[in-house]
């Protein structure tokens, strides 16, 4: 092969056209050359890894030259050098090879490659035949006689360098240079393909590992997770979801949308689940939807908390979701705990009420006794009792009034706790009776004013007839709670104005204070149970965060509305409306 290619390349083109015989020779040579290139091309195409590329390269080059070693230096960080010896290499020869490779790499502007570094990191890919050769002949000489370095190029990008070495001088010649470069190009493309294949495999392995990891996480989740297709049919679900659905006796059928399944199922809450999935399929994200999945008679039925979100196509070409991912959380145990807590609070409140009633009763008794004594003392002529104005009973009466007021406050707190469970389980009962709202407001103002010396509470009644049919005690509780807050959140005193006016057919009660007001972050939560405003110097404000929650429940049950507004400069105003007669 070597001689034929070499001789053809040396013949000038004009000479080749001189005769028919020459033309025939030329065609024969071209045919041979094409066959040769076809053969080596096939070898490179069939090479699936680096070693196979090295073998193909060595075979192709050995048909052109007889040489000592061939090396492949690949650019990259770090670079890679592969040494493929044709027969055993002498150490000095090898060292010279490293020097020559480093110089050539430097000439081609490869970044910082030193001979020592090459020697340290080189891979040796010696063919198996080398072992036999080693026994037959000695190693190479110590000096390099010929050297050829050819850039490995892929699409005009130099990816590395092919180096050929021989101990004899004049091994490589110009006429075979083009053919050698062609082989180097084949090798470059094959090596690039191997690199891309390795990268693809690495990425695939990484993706597979990630998939397995994700699958493990999902399967070990305590929450149920289910994924539907675009029609709403469950396409996959984890073990927890499977257990939950089995617990609820749902017979899952593949490829059947949940909506259709709900139509024929006796499981009542499946319709709600299908609705939630439907909402997510329309592009909406549903958060913490509570579904009671248990039977009606159960004390604490199986309760599920469902969140669902649409899954969109990663390409972003379609706005329509391709499915839904839903998380099902069994919150039954939370509900059980909540129930136990409410029962506990209810029991404790009941227990607190008994001594409280006694304290209240005896305080009232003492107040009346002292009032009687005072009346008697004041009836005595001044000259017989010069210290009439500073009687100790006057101080006692003031102290008892404070005790009485605080007891009423405590009673309200206990009542709030008692009401909590009633509100929580929808058992808040109302006792409607006719009464005058103005009188009720006046009573509350008087009671609160007794223990609020720093504050001045004004009552502003702008309605002639204040008769209303409502639960007197409950409405008193609402007013008391709002007034308590007005005092509590005005630590520096000031005015509190209780205003009563009409708003359409309803009474409108507004209680304004000059206190700390409500920060915007609390607007949405202030009527939630146990919610307390933790803003400015919050530690000095006592309370359990139930007053407004219970107040809202009472007003809602009366068919009214409760809300608040922040005053322009200071404080806030709480408003509630109350229909003059109970609605349907």
């Amino acid at each position: 092969m070597e001689s034929s290619v070499q001789s053809e390349l040396q013949v000038p083109e004009s000479a080749r056209r001189s005769s028919n015989g020459d033309r025939g020779d030329r065609l024969m040579a071209i045919r041979q050359e094409m066959e040769y290139l076809n053969t080596i091309g096939k070898r490179f195409v069939a090479a699936l890894d680096r070693i196979q590329v090295h073998r193909a390269l060595l075979a192709a080059l050995q048909e052109l030259y007889s040489f000592s070693a061939c090396c492949i230096l690949l650019r990259g960080d770090p670079f890679e050098l592969f040494i493929i010896p044709c027969y055993p290499l002498d150490a000095a020869f090898l060292e010279s090879m490293f020097q020559r490779i480093a110089s050539a790499a430097n000439a081609l502007n490869f970044p910082n490659i030193a001979a020592e570094q090459l020697a340290r990191t080189a891979y040796y890919d010696a063919p198996d035949e080398l072992a036999q050769l080693r026994s037959q002949r000695d190693t190479t000489g110590t000096e390099i006689g010929s050297c050829l370095n050819i850039p490995l190029t892929v699409e005009n990008r130099i990816i590395g360098m092919l180096s050929l070495f021989d101990e004899r001088p004049g091994t490589f010649d110009t006429n075979l240079l083009q053919l050698t470069t062609m082989i180097a190009d084949y090798a470059a493309v094959a090596l690039e393909n191997v690199r891309l294949r390795e990268r693809e495999n690495a990425l695939w392995r990484q993706a597979e590992m990630e998939r397995i990891r994700l699958e493990l996480i999902i399967s070990s989740m305590a929450e149920g997770l289910l994924i539907t297709d675009a029609r709403g049919a469950i396409s996959s679900l984890n073990t927890s979801a499977e257990q939950l659905l089995t617990k609820a006796q749902i017979d899952l059928q593949p490829d059947v949308p949940l909506r259709k399944l709900a139509e024929t199922s006796h499981v009542h809450w499946l319709t709600k689940l299908a609705e939630t999935i439907g909402l997510a399929l329309s592009g909406k994200t549903v958060k913490n939807q509570e579904i009671v999945a248990g039977a009606d008679g159960e004390t604490v039925p199986l309760t599920l908390n469902i969140s669902a979100a649409p899954i969109h196509d990663a390409s972003g070409t379609s706005t329509r979701p391709i499915g839904v991912v839903a998380v099902l959380n069994d919150v039954t145990s939370n509900k059980q705990v909540e129930r136990l807590k409410d029962e506990f609070v209810s029991v404790v409140s009941h227990e607190l009420r008994t001594p409280l009633t006694a304290i209240k009763g005896y305080t009232q008794h003492l107040v009346r006794r002292i009032e009687r004594r005072l009346r008697k003392a004041r009836a005595t002529p001044q000259e017989n009792n010069p210290a009439n104005a500073d009687l100790p009973e006057s101080y006692d009466l003031r102290s008892l009034n404070i005790i009485q007021s605080q007891t009423e406050h405590l009673e309200r707190l206990v009542n709030d706790l008692l009401d909590l469970s009633q509100v929580q389980w929808g058992q808040l009962s109302l006792n409607y009776e006719p009464f005058y709202l103005a009188d009720l407001l006046a009573e509350n103002v008087r009671s609160v004013q007794a223990s609020a010396e720093q504050h001045t509470i004004y009552l502003d009644i702008q309605v002639q007839d204040t008769k209303v049919v409502a639960d007197r005690v409950r409405i008193g509780q609402v007013v008391g709670n709002i007034l308590d807050n007005a005092i509590k959140y005005s630590p520096h005193g000031g005015q509190v104005i209780v205003n009563l006016q009409m708003q359409g057919e309803d009474y409108l009660v507004s209680i304004s204070d000059q206190g700390v007001g409500v920060s915007p972050e609390h607007y949405d939560h202030i009527f939630e149970r146990f919610y307390r405003v933790h803003n400015t110097a919050s530690h000095q404000y006592s309370g359990i965060g139930l007053g407004l929650y219970v107040a809202k429940a009472i007003i809602d049950r009366h068919g009214g509305r409760i809300w608040f507004t922040n005053n322009q400069n200071t404080g806030s105003t709480f408003h509630f409306t109350l229909p003059s007669t109970p609605g349907e």
């Binding site: 000439a107 850039p151 490589f172 240079l177």
Partner: protein, 125 residues
């Protein structure tokens, strides 16, 4: 190889650059069939890296392919450099290119090409 440009001559920096660019293009033309189109570009960049300590104004060629060089680029990057200095720098660059080519192919390509390039540069003088 230097065609003896000096300050007294009326040769501009652009003319000097153009002469050497023509020389590099000739190298490229001869080398490409043997070693591929990307080789001369890499050789020039490698050569620029080696001479930039001595001729800092050629440092820009380390990262920029010589095919992108045009007169406005010369005005921007070699202002303050005389034609003589520029010629000396480009001459050193050309020598390094040949040295690099010799590292790759020994004497297979370099001797006739070196003669041809020297001849062309002399003609342009």
């Amino acid at each position: 190889m230097s065609p003896n440009y000096d300050n007294s001559s009326s040769v501009s920096r652009e003319q000097v650059t153009e002469a050497y660019l023509k020389a590099i293009r000739l190298i490229d033309e001869r080398v490409a069939p043997y070693l591929g189109k990307a080789t001369t570009r890499a050789l020039v960049q490698g050569a620029a890296r080696r001479v930039r300590d001595q001729y800092p104004f050629l440092g820009c060629l380390v990262y920029r392919p010589y095919t992108d060089i045009h007169p406005s680029f010369i005005r921007e990057h070699v202002s303050g450099v005389t034609s003589t200095e520029l010629a000396a720098g480009l001459d050193a660059l050309l020598d390094e290119c040949f040295a690099g080519l010799r590292e790759l192919t020994g004497d297979l390509i370099v001797p006739p090409l070196h003669d041809e390039v020297t001849h062309q540069l002399r003609q342009l003088q």
